[in-house]
Symmetry: C2
């Protein structure tokens, strides 16, 4: 459909054929002030948006927008933030299409009020991060900083946001619970913290798209180009989800899913997902207020984050607003249309989302964090020291990490630093390190981990590549240069 739309634009007269002009002022067009622009935000009447210095009348385009109503969030305002949010806009063809709707320039010296930028309330982030996108913010630590501490400091924990960070007043915050079709209740933060036992759980959280950068070497995927650092480990403190659910009464066995809606929203509705009732009732599934002993940072879900140990990052919903017991999975687009177990044969055009199951659990993963890829090593030193992390989903722990300098002909077992966690509840990553004789290193060094179900990592990325670059977990290989 997107392709069809792009093709369709050929019949619209192109006011600017050069994509480099997109958003730049053009001398032959009238100027408009923000006050005037703001009056053009009514679908069916006229819809203007601003991009950079350009003013565009997109009335005719609104209904054709592949992203649906979302475009109206920028009506009478600036669309810059949204274009940053959705990578698909970053193509010359899309920019050309936008220019075809150009009607004028933003009046010189005019500034958009901060209020118009939905990301203007976002918190500051660590200067250590590699920021892949600013709006919404997505940032990770460089690999070699990742394995400094087995509990990742809060400020260094990767940030994966889909939307602007909600601004929440803890005094008025309420968590809503819908536990039967006709019953609804809510708790304020004080209730939550005082009415239920407080528990702590140590759990790693990994984004399904971690290592997408490598997947993109194999073929173009869609999403943030994580280098391996979209994972962290923390102690989460809060109350058990099951304590709240049980507090409400006997749970009707028809309710097989717990839907969670968040406070971060866009015009299509809130961010959200669902988890199976069995996982919701697990003693380690909690509503957390604290991360590593501190108040939950805004970027990690202040005031309340759902922690679902062993599950993929996206199910660990931040800024929890509403919890609903339901007979069905979440109907929200974030649950239904993404984060699924895609096949190498799937593509955006042909995937049947209903046929692909959501990712909850995750396969075993390991990364060489240092040395970093493409650095040189001194062959006069006897050994080269390798360090990294390993992790598996579903509470499966790491039992072995092995490195190879001959692409799997032989393996060198690494030393493991594991957390003490019970079988089936091994939620935390493991660190590992190994010394390899310099003389053994030709060029490539790869790592693989084995979890307690005996799962290893696939040797080639080709066998697991998918168009969303999810669950990239083939052997992690780096190349080193002898000096």
């Amino acid at each position: 459909m997107w392709r069809k739309l792009l093709a369709g634009t050929a019949v619209i007269s192109m006011k600017s054929a050069k994509c480099s002009d997109s958003g730049m002022a053009t001398n032959d067009l009238p100027e408009y002030t923000w006050d005037e622009i703001k009056t053009h935000k009514t679908p069916g009447k006229s819809v203007w948006i601003v991009m950079g210095k350009g003013v565009y009348d997109i009335t005719r385009f609104v209904e054709m927008h592949p992203g649906g109503d979302k475009i109206l969030l920028a009506a009478g305002s600036s669309a810059d933030a949204f274009w940053n949010l959705y990578r698909i806009h970053k193509q010359d063809k899309v920019k050309d299409m936008l220019e075809s709707f150009r009607i004028g320039n933003l009046k010189g010296g005019e500034k958009l009020e901060a209020l118009n930028d939905p990301f203007s309330g976002d918190p500051n982030r660590s200067t250590h991060f590699i920021a892949h996108t600013e709006k919404a913010y997505n940032g990770e630590l460089p690999n070699d900083l990742l394995t400094e501490k087995i509990l990742t400091p809060n400020t260094e924990f990767f940030v994966r946001n889909h939307l602007p960070v909600p601004v929440v007043d803890e005094n008025t915050y309420e968590l809503e619970l819908v536990f039967e079709d006709d019953k609804c209740t809510s708790f304020n933060l004080k209730d939550l913290k005082s009415k239920f036992p407080i528990v702590s759980v140590e759990s790693s959280i990994q984004c399904a798209g971690n290592r997408r950068f490598e997947a993109n070497q194999q073929g173009v995927t869609r999403g943030v180009e994580w280098r391996g650092g979209a994972i962290g480990n923390a102690v989460w403190t809060g109350i058990r989800l099951r304590d709240i659910l049980k507090h409400l009464g006997e749970i009707n066995p028809e309710y097989k899913h717990v839907q969670i809606e968040a406070l971060d929203t866009d015009p299509n509705g809130p961010f959200g997902t669902s988890i199976p009732i069995e996982k919701a009732m697990d003693s380690d599934t909690i509503l957390a207020f604290e991360m590593n002993g501190e108040t939950l940072p805004r970027d990690h879900g202040f005031p309340v984050r759902l922690i679902v140990p062993g599950y993929v990052g996206v199910r660990n919903i931040k800024w929890v607003k509403r919890i609903t017991l339901s007979t069905s999975e979440s109907p929200l687009i974030w649950h239904k249309r993404d984060y699924r177990l895609f096949s190498p044969n799937d593509s955006l055009g042909n995937v049947n989302f209903e046929e692909r199951e959501p990712v909850y659990d995750m396969p075993v993963q390991s990364v060489i964090c240092s040395p970093i890829d493409s650095t040189s090593f001194d062959s006069k030193n006897e050994n080269v020291n390798f360090k990294g992390f390993a992790y598996s989903g579903g509470g499966r722990g790491i039992v072995r990490v092995e490195l190879t300098t001959d692409h799997g002909e032989s393996w060198i077992e690494a030393q493991l630093e594991k957390r003490q966690q019970r079988l089936g509840r091994r939620w935390s990553w493991a660190f590992w390190n190994a010394n390899i004789p310099s003389s053994d290193i030709e060029k490539e060094v790869c790592v693989r981990a084995v979890d307690d179900a005996g799962h290893g990592q696939p040797e080639s990325l080709k066998s697991i590549w998918n168009y969303r670059g999810l669950l990239t977990n083939s052997w992690h290989c780096i190349h080193l240069i002898r000096k």
Copy 2:
């Protein structure tokens, strides 16, 4: 140590140097009757054994026996059954060593009473089975019979026995429970069947050594050479283990493991293992009396078998005798010295069993059951139909099965026949089938499955091979001949 012993035998005069003579009558030696032989079974005095027609005085060897005291089970009797049980004996060097202890022949016409054969009470088995060993019995269906029924008929369910099948009188059978250091209780079969709710669970059981035949193509392993058929699926009916444990009272949180001892024994003690308390308390972990609606067959654990869905076959203990709540894992040799997550670097000589964790959960598996390997296909037919099973441990279901005719360059998705089971409780295998155009088939066709944690199967066996041939789950490939 074994090697050392073999080397040591060189100083003992060899009465027969030809290994083909082992167990045959030799003309120049005296004859002994069973009555006389039976009097020589006292360690420290004299120990004779019989192998075939040969009589051997092994008094000097008893203490050196690598298998420990087990050798005394045959004292004053026939050792044939035990040699069949332990493959390590089937070497020319071992036979030569035995002949060095030869003192005579069994008197002509003498027959060993059935009582002396611990396997004489074993039940009859399906004629469909490939019987890998008779004593103890280990048999599987040929692959092409395996996928006929999604619930494997009881008589066709693979049999993996370590020891003789116990002969149990259901009227006197008692299940013992040791639930505190000083408390012990027991239930007879009538109690078990009447005092607790009866439940049914559908679960596949797979032997950790399934597909060891292939592992042996890569390098010699130790164990039964299963061809892929060491798996079956059944509905098990019985009572929840947790109902019995709760019946006994509050469980002290110090008890982290449930040890299970079985009725099948050898001189070293009973067969047995342990499982973590969390798994023991799971609603689907049961003590089964029935298999597919019939009384549990003797080969499958009559009268009571522990069913631990999602766990490797060996933990699904047959002929349960005693259940003990404990602070530690089972001390039995079958638990401590085998069925562990071995590395490709481990060998019998160097493995530190304590360092390797027991296999409980199992990785994703799939097998092409038909056509069978090395058969021809008619290239005049448009398609070749492929069928098989896929399975993953830990309650993870199969989400996708794919075949490749070009060793992973491209994949053809198979049709899945899955059981309706809840996420996290997907205990049953899935069947699959796919039609592949004859023209696409060069020679090799491989299958791989993906489970709901996103785990696939490794493409090469080399990366997972271990000396015990456990958890062999690389892509299953067959070769076909065009005609």
